[in-house]
Symmetry: C2
Subunit: 166 residues, 2 copies
DNA sequence: TATTGTTATACTCTATAACTATA
DNA sequence: TATAGTTATAGAGTATAACAATA
């Protein structure tokens, strides 16, 4: 126990992980039942729905998926379901641009109310307004910190000689 | 968009989910590399190491795993690896009690420093002391709220006639 | 030479249903 | 009749490596 986290840190860490795990599980069930979507698929659709225009695979991956093949797989499923389209990019001939279809937008719209409901009921119900502000500030900062630091997401490909973990 | 979360809530929700996803991914890599453990397996071992004595499968499951068969599977893997033992319970003949072995404790001890390091670097580095207090309080409250509310975890078995999602 | 994306493949995790045994 | 746990099995998600094509 030489270099343990302070107990307060440890408790915070475990509470965070367990709470989000429970939340993840609940919203995943909701998305599966109401839209036959995994959480990752929902995230991808939501990003596309929110975006001004189509996104490249790499742009779409950032922060959502941690391997290129994983994204290709998911995008393939969404395309087969008629929720997104894939096509060549004009700017960069290597890139694939992904756009959301009307059916995709409709599905997001169909699933969103129940999703919002679950998040409100499970996450926000026990929180005050100042809790919300605090949590928002903290998690935004943490997210940005982790995005900036290595280990980075998909965009940097691992070098072939295993660099170890982190 | 009739009943959307307030933008502040939505941003908070997404920041929380993305930050924890990144954290989960990073610590999973660390645990896999240094101890050949999944995060769930680490959690199970850590609980057992922290517990005064052996736990039943149901006690062990709570908050960690969402299906009984999943836990049986993971416990089987840990047992095969010599990290835990399983045996009949004295109190309740139906129950299985799970205990951690010396090898299990050693593995936790081996893996923990790197784990703590990653959590500090990724989660706590950008947070102040008051952030830590706030986050701890908030996430503890959220976790307890979700534990209390349905959808409950494993302990309640689903009725055979599909009760829908939540 | 580095980057974008796909393919093929293998593996892990998870969940459902059917089952045994005990309370 | 309800609960604890296991088994068998199937499906979904993810990652690695090898590959083709473009920058």
């Amino acid at each position: 126990m030489a270099d343990a986290l302070e107990p307060k840190q440890l408790n915070t860490y475990f509470a965070l992980m367990e709470a989000v795990s429970l939340l993840q599980h609940a919203v995943s069930q909701q998305l599966r039942a109401e839209g036959d979507l995994s959480y990752v698929q929902f995230e991808l659709l939501a990003r596309l729905a929110d975006s001004a225009g189509p996104l490249t695979m790499t742009e779409l991956a950032d922060g959502v998926v941690y391997s290129r093949s994983g994204l290709t797989h998911q995008a393939g499923l969404l395309e087969k379901a008629g929720l997104v389209t894939r096509g060549p990019s004009a700017d960069d001939q290597r890139a694939t641009v992904v756009g959301i279809t009307d059916a995709g937008r409709e599905l997001v719209a169909k699933v969103l109310p129940g999703h919002i409901d679950a998040v409100r009921r499970l996450l926000f119900a026990p929180l005050s307004t100042s809790d919300l502000d605090a949590l928002g500030g903290i998690m935004t900062r943490v997210r940005d910190h982790m995005r900036a630091e290595p280990p980075r997401s998909v965009s940097t490909r691992r070098s072939s000689k295993g660099s170890g973990v982190l």
